[in-house]
Symmetry: D2
Subunit: 342 residues, 4 copies
């Protein structure tokens, strides 16, 4: 049996650890052969593969990124896309089954392909922790750790200058990274897409912190929006035309807070460093366990399924379970954290 | 209501984060007062307390250790020990309830005291992850991360010198730290108390790695023993009298491996650095959530219970659930990891 | 003798270590008393002090920021500024001498005050390493380490996506942080204020890297400017009016590179996390040694001087030596690094 | 011109960065060819080489260890050793010159070979910082950083348990790592081979710290010895026969301190993790600069010389300068640190 592996979507610490675990167990226990599709679905659609063996995956448990490359290319793109063409390509390459490592979009595509007969199983991947059917995914813990270290650093500068520091972290649609790093770092407010908060409320928190003699520190997910964004833009002296040129939400909030409270405020946008580099031990263990379970799932021919973490165990769940609703921060988790605000 | 907090047993990253969360929520939401008992049960038995307020717990989310001090003193020790004396001390201090943060021994004592009428609830704490009724406890993730970073460092030296490196990590009775750090670090064998392994098997793994041109790296929990310890001792040239003076198991294994395989071997005993210092973000979040739930549990007057992590949620469980059997590494988790040995 | 300490200018890892060393040696060896001026020169001008003793500086060797607070307030500002008023304030407070920890502006002010008779000595502080008369200053090594870790993380994401990553680090007038972190991280180009480089040259380097099959990674100091900034602005679709609203130079360069080369490009602006948090061991040692030498210099009554690192030794130099020209990256250091570009 | 590179002696973070810099500059600027000798002098003596080109050194700036392997084999060992045989081997391989990266022993051997006509230059390498003629060597900063992080972690556990923590770091003959990490970590005493200190003095320091209400923390270099080692052994209940089986000096000191002071004391031996893994940015920059200078020195045909750091500049010095006396910690550096003891 020859199995193809692909990594799709944004970079994520732990991708290489999944690949390594699949190949090590697949070769030593099941005597299978492996290829990697280059740059995600593009490699599958175009039949662009590299051989994968034990030697090739050596040392990958701790290596960030993906040796296979990744892209946002979809399996239905281009003249060679779609299940029929893909099956022909697989036949031509002698590849019997596919393991697709990726986020919500990837798993939705995998589901469609599985329904059309492609022998495919999924491994969930998302920095943002927004995928249902799995308690956590690898990459999230690393992103939270990096954001928390940034908070630790910003705090000393905020305290020394009595400034309000606003840190923007990843999370376009969900606020998990902000929630966990903000709680770990002792942030005075955590602003997430799931929870609309007015600038008045933010100002109240900030002033409450200042009145206790401390320097306010806020964590904001990139997808958070104020209910009064017009005011946000006008504070920056921008009309509608210029809006796309604005930086992130932190760069909108900091001057608003400064204007309203008189507290010198500074924005930091953490950006891509959250999704690269050496994974935490937690993410390496999770990624390795998911990889080991993925190859078992292939051998069990449970196509159309995905491996997932539930409590302390790795299980096999239907791809459809993972799809549909994004896993947002539930109200009780936000309320739990909000007790420490202000 | 006035509540007393104590931390008992070995140091553990996250203790301060629990204390901080209890006090912040207890004062701001419930308007309670707090004291800390110094040095674990000793402070409770002897009525040795320090006041705790919002100001005192500032900045503790990231601070390792415990500001209350800890010891291995038990609540039944000394002339002032035992539930009757303790209740008198609590009455004298005006303390209405106790939150005891500690491991298996501490929670067993809490159970006895609760059965005797003391208003007490527990927060689980163990570096070793050996406590039932909770998926994980704070401190474990930090210990695993530190051990994993040590493996990453040892690996380059092993490779450069073609040496066999043996790293000893914590785990007197259970092998969780070894299992997770070994998997994260890509160890070639993981030796834990739960799984007897012969020196012949270890030598087979080591030689298999060497034959592939690599430098073997082994992780061993301190509580692992060879089934043939006599040979171990005789390799070190020691008779029974001298055995207690031996270092850890790593220092026994390394010379045995070198003698049997001819591969230069080196032992490293990681020791106390695994249980001190800044907690990982994961442990800070878990410790904070347990602290927040602990104060709710006090307010709900659910004496004799303990807060615990189940999946992604913090729940309240009976103290008796946490006791009894140590949570050892189950067979399927060992087998899962063992596929990557050799 | 009573001595006052102040920290002035931007936050910098190691400030607290200097304060600690001064107070520990000053109290234990010389039996002196200490106060700290709050928020830099403001505390001196306004006579706003806090007492400093051994207990107060406990644990500060590793703590980022400054417990005294800092600001950009100058000693000639306000109705109480200037040497005569300051001397009166010192007399009123019973303070005999001042140690001013700060950068070029602070040391220039210290020089003026010393010339006017104030008993003052300086400790150099600059993240940017732009101060003459001292080989290095504390804070620089920490900033370089943080920037290097960011490069390590960005590299995996760049490689996985075949993107060009552009990292902007601190350095408004000098490129030391960019030079050292770029060399440590293996950057394919380092762009610094001291060295004008055309966009054509940058494109040549980027394409050369791409043609070798690798993902280009550039480090740019915030003060770097293109000789053709008009093109930069027009690429962002901005006319002169909107220029101040642009983000940093990385956000100008990334779209220009993408437009010219067709390589997807991403900017990251590291910002304030470079100047906060736990100092590296190097910076702690340097800051401690400078503090120890500073109190000796006070006792020797060598007013108007500054402590400085020369080779492996801490020496006393005239404040005038430290002033005048910024210490820029010399041509031979740039050429040395540039060999590895492209 | 074809140039051979070797790395000799103990592992050291930065070795790979030197190799990378040599090969990158040598191929791109000077169009030279390179081979690496495997396992230090053994590869040279036995003619065991691997080709080195730009592709082979990719990503090595941050990678610990040495891709060439290292050993303690000497160039005069075996039937093929000695300058005449070595010259024949070089001729056979077509290698024109040798760059030897190593410590005192390596450079002494290089000097002998250079004097006998071998075209060889040296790059200094020592974790211990014990080599004269250079201010610092790569690897030392990384070792100090790792030891300092260990101190930070041990401190919280010491404080929580009111224990005396004794950390043993590398330094068989010189105490530089202990001196710098102890100063950075705020140790209460630093014990180094250069400075005999009695157990009475140590006890005085420890009790002084305890009397101030703090937990004592000591850093000891592995080569430190008590002037009364007989007492040390007898405390452990050992006679002369068993002495070699003792662990390190920390494991001798801790029980002595406990016996004398009644303070519970714990030893930690840091061991091999000090010399492996990712180098600090400081060490990467230094290693890279030394590598770049080394290839220039070869091109200048300055055989028998070594590259060295002097202040902020890399210079070429005679190999004989680097030899002779070990660079020990001078009295004034010890006195400077000792002010903070107790």
């Amino acid at each position: 049996m020859k199995i193809g592996i692909l990594t799709s979507g944004g970079d994520c610490p732990g991708l290489n650890a999944v690949i390594r675990a699949i190949v090590l167990k697949g070769t030593s226990v099941y005597s299978q052969q492996f290829v990697g599709f280059r740059d995600g679905w593009r490699g599958l659609v175009e039949g662009d593969v590299i051989p994968l063996d034990r030697h090739r995956v050596r040392g990958l448990a701790k290596q960030g990124g993906t040796i296979l490359g990744t892209s946002r290319f979809g399996p239905y793109e281009g003249p060679s896309g779609g299940p029929e063409n893909i099956q022909k390509t697989l036949d031509r390459l002698g590849v019997d089954a596919v393991i697709a490592i990726g986020g919500e979009g990837t798993q939705a595509a995998s589901k469609r392909l599985a329904d059309a007969g492609i022998k495919i199983i999924g491994v969930p991947k998302t920095i943002d922790n927004d995928l249902g059917a799995t308690d956590y995914t690898f990459g999230f813990d690393t992103a939270v750790e990096i954001a928390t270290e940034a908070i630790d650093r910003l705090r000393t500068t905020g305290d020394s200058h009595k400034r309000c520091m606003v840190l923007e972290v990843m999370g376009r649609h969900v606020g998990w990274i902000a929630l966990h790093s903000g709680m770990a770092g002792g942030a005075h407010a955590i602003l997430i897409p799931e929870q609309p908060v007015s600038i008045d409320q933010i100002v109240t928190w900030v002033e409450s912190v200042r009145d206790r003699g401390r320097a306010p520190l806020l964590v904001v997910a990139e997808g958070f929006t104020l209910d009064t964004m017009d005011e946000a833009y006008s504070t920056k002296g921008l009309d509608g035309f210029n809006r796309p040129r604005l930086g992130g939400i932190a760069e909108i909030l900091a001057p608003m807070i400064e204007q309203r409270t008189g507290i010198e405020s500074r924005a930091t946008v953490l950006g891509h460093i959250q999704r690269g580099g050496v994974p935490t031990a937690y993410d390496r263990v999770l990624a390795t366990r998911l990889g080991l379970a993925a190859i078992d799932t292939v051998l069990a021919e449970r196509w159309g399924n995905m491996v997932a973490l539930r409590g302390t165990e790795v299980q096999v769940v239907g791809l459809d379970e993972a799809l549909g609703e994004l896993k947002t921060v539930p109200q009780h988790r936000y309320d739990e954290a909000a007790i420490l605000f202000g």
